[in-house]
């Protein structure tokens, strides 16, 4: 056992702010792990130096921030060190998993959606239930993806199939890949999102092929002793009118917010591959590609790109022409609908349609609160307006102050010119 040795001289110097070696001793102490503002005194008491804490505020008055967020310059390095330590997540590596929990995320847009992350959180619950023999979460991705943070989402093993067979509508090829995984690894659970973006269809296909009865519409699971799997789940049934409590099945199709996403740990996300390549199979379903859709015919609530007109629009011919050229669905504020410039089913807002567009271009809309409510779920909002102080500008990701007609016609000219160049190049 080592006896803690104290240096009374250094302690004296540390207390004496006028001593020429005061700063040196302080920095040394800090290196040893002791704070300059707090130390153990000669009698074993904790001593604090009130002159060492705090900082000089903007008015020249000394301020002490007891939250620890802001520290004096001498303590700055120490503070950043502790916050950096807090920011790093706990690394988890599962070398020899007792079982596998397979998750097939939808990867809408090539990235993990919030639904996928919830599902991975659910998979972690199942995998980590027994601390002595933890399971591993295996994510299976088919086709190209842009996701890089697999470990933070809670993935231990990652199996990525890069194959042109998974392009477009390819349920047969996807099912064959999952079957190959089932043959080789036999995961204890299969988890898929019960969403129209693909998981609902693929999960049911897998269940029918494996002859398993899936638990669909699952929104919570809890451990129980009454069932053979040790888990029971609550699932929505009967078009959302029933709650069914049942033992957890091997194939689980879970709805959104079924579990909290993984937050505190970082996992290995080690790449994994099948021992044999996937067999070529002859599909009976032939994908002939997208069909061009008239944007004016798309329901406002599900349109991806909306060009919306407000009271600031004066040139209606130009507005409709711009919507045609840009390929945008037309929307409107209440005022122009009331004035008869647009149809009632085009109204965006609390009294009209709540839209979910990825890009919403508000032309001459100042942004009444009812309108802003209607565009809450839009990703990117572009505002074109004359008034630089209106509420729409506060909401918008890109705002342009100017005359709506001029800017729209310039935009149309630019898009048409670019299409012309592309046609010439082709």
């Amino acid at each position: 056992m080592t006896i803690p040795r104290r240096d009374p001289r250094r302690e004296r110097i540390a207390r004496n702010r006028c001593h020429p070696e005061h700063d040196v001793v302080l920095t040394e102490q800090e290196h040893d792990g002791a704070s300059a503002a707090e130390w153990t005194g000669p009698n074993g008491l904790r001593r604090r130096d009130p002159r060492q804490v705090g900082f000089i505020g903007p008015n020249g008055i000394k301020r002490i921030d007891r939250s620890g967020a802001q520290q004096s310059a001498t303590l700055g390095t120490r503070a950043t060190r502790t916050t950096a330590a807090a920011a790093t997540k706990r690394h988890v590596e599962i070398e020899s998993p007792a079982f596998m929990v397979a998750v097939v995320p939808d990867m809408a847009g090539g990235r993990l959606s919030s639904h996928d992350r919830d599902l991975l959180g659910l998979a972690r619950q199942l995998a980590d239930a027994d601390g002595n023999s933890p399971g591993a979460v295996l994510a299976i991705v088919m086709g190209p993806h842009k996701e890089s943070q697999w470990g933070d989402a809670g993935v231990d093993r990652l199996m990525a199939f890069e194959d042109s067979a998974f392009d477009g509508y390819s349920p047969e090829a996807r099912l064959a890949a999952l079957e190959a995984v089932e043959r080789e690894m036999a995961p204890r659970y299969w988890l898929l999102p019960d969403a129209s973006t693909g998981g609902a269809d693929l999960g049911r296909r897998l269940a029918a092929r494996l002859g398993e009865r899936p638990a669909t519409g699952v929104w919570s699971i809890e451990p129980t002793s009454g069932t053979s799997t040790g888990w029971q789940c609550t699932a929505r049934g009967g078009a959302g009118s029933l709650d069914i409590q049942r033992p957890l099945a091997r194939i689980v199709l879970a709805v959104e917010e079924c579990a909290e996403p993984v937050d505190e740990t970082r996992h290995a996300a080690r790449p994994l591959a099948l021992s044999q390549p996937l067999p070529r199979l002859l599909g009976r379903i032939d994908d002939q590609g997208r069909v061009p859709v008239d944007p004016a015919g798309i329901a406002l609530a599900e349109a991806e790109f909306i060009l919306s007109a407000g009271n600031g629009v004066k040139d209606w011919e130009g507005f409709h022409h711009a919507a045609r050229v840009l390929g945008a669905t037309e929307g409107a504020s209440r005022v122009v609908v009331d004035d008869g410039f647009m149809a009632r089913d085009r109204q965006v807002g609390a009294t009209g349609t709540w839209v979910t567009a990825r890009v919403y271009v508000a032309v001459g809309i100042s942004g009444a609160i009812q309108h802003l409510q209607g565009i809450q779920r839009c990703d990117k909002v572009v505002a074109i307006n004359k008034d630089p102080d209106c509420d729409m500008i506060k909401r918008a990701d890109l705002s342009v102050i100017g005359d709506a007609g001029d800017i729209l016609s310039a935009l149309v000219a630019r898009v048409e010119q670019e299409r012309e160049e592309q046609r010439d190049a082709a």
Binding site: G168, P214, Q288, S399
Partner: protein, 275 residues
């Protein structure tokens, strides 16, 4: 064997019907998606239509089947005015019985089903299990059948955000209609009364797994709370007093229309909405 053109054979379309449930009153009605499926079948020219329902034959069943039969006005000869009713007890697995009826007596080339039932478990597994036991391909999210030529059906599939995709599938095939398919026509009273229900007996298979389930009316799901993982008082205060961060956008003032248009054009290209 000489190649026989299949086009000469009349196309038989089977529409699977279920007993719907009104979301507010809970009364039996025609199920919305199955009615869309029947509308899809009626819109196909020169097709023989077989309406099939499997389940207990009771009042609720009769009410909803008459709802479908009421859609057959003007299609009296096509078979839409009669429902083949496979009588099964209430907690039975209807897949074997339905499978036998379809493959042995009706022999359709195209089976149209809805995505989920409005009553019971509503797992949406029935078309998948039929597809697996009949060995026919299955396509989901269909809004229209564009044509059937030489044994190949051309289908229009709905994608998210109102987009559409064209598929071609070799018959026989099972399709599931999407909720955005054409809205069903109104059910008329006269054809609904005149329509017939032909009861067919099939051996029943009891679904034992459901016995251990606990079923109750759906309760509201708890709202997800924002979890604040603050280590200090300052962070806790900031999280509690946080306002939605507005004003983060880029504002362009005093610019020419061309520069403004360039900035908007760049954003639209980044978001990949210009086609």
């Amino acid at each position: 064997m000489p190649h026989e053109p299949i086009t000469t054979l009349p196309l038989t379309v089977a529409v699977l019907l279920s007993v719907g449930r009104h979301p507010v009153t809970g009364r039996a009605r025609r199920a919305d998606q199955d009615a869309r499926g029947l509308e899809l079948a009626l819109s196909m020219a020169a097709a023989r239509i077989e309406l099939v329902h499997a389940g207990p034959f009771d009042d609720a069943c009769e009410v909803s089947m008459r709802g479908y039969l009421g859609m057959s006005a003007g299609h009296a000869g096509s078979g839409a005015d009669s429902v083949t009713l496979v009588d099964q007890p209430s907690q039975a697995d209807v897949v074997p019985a339905l499978c036998r009826t379809l493959s042995e007596s009706l022999a359709p080339q195209l089976v149209i089903a809805g995505e989920r039932a409005e009553q019971g478990e509503g797992s949406g597994m029935l078309p998948y299990q039929l597809s697996e036991s009949l060995g026919w391909p299955l396509v989901g999210g269909i809004v229209a059948v564009e044509g059937v030529e030489e044994g190949v059906a051309t289908l229009l599939q709905a994608l998210p955000r109102g987009q559409r995709r064209r598929l071609s599938v070799r018959l026989p095939v099972i399709v599931m209609v999407n909720a955005t398919a054409m809205a069903p026509r109104q059910s008329a009273f006269g054809p609904a009364r005149r329509g017939t229900l032909a009861v067919v007996e099939q051996p029943a298979v009891h679904d034992a797994a459901q016995d251990e389930w606990r079923v109750q009316p759906a309760r509201k799901r708890p709202k997800r709370l924002k979890i604040v993982k603050a280590t200090s008082a300052r962070e806790r205060f900031k999280a509690a007093a946080a306002k939605s961060d507005g004003g983060g956008g880029q504002i362009m003032k005093d610019v020419s229309p061309d520069e403004a248009a360039a900035a908007i054009h760049k954003l639209l290209k980044e978001e990949d909405v210009l086609r």
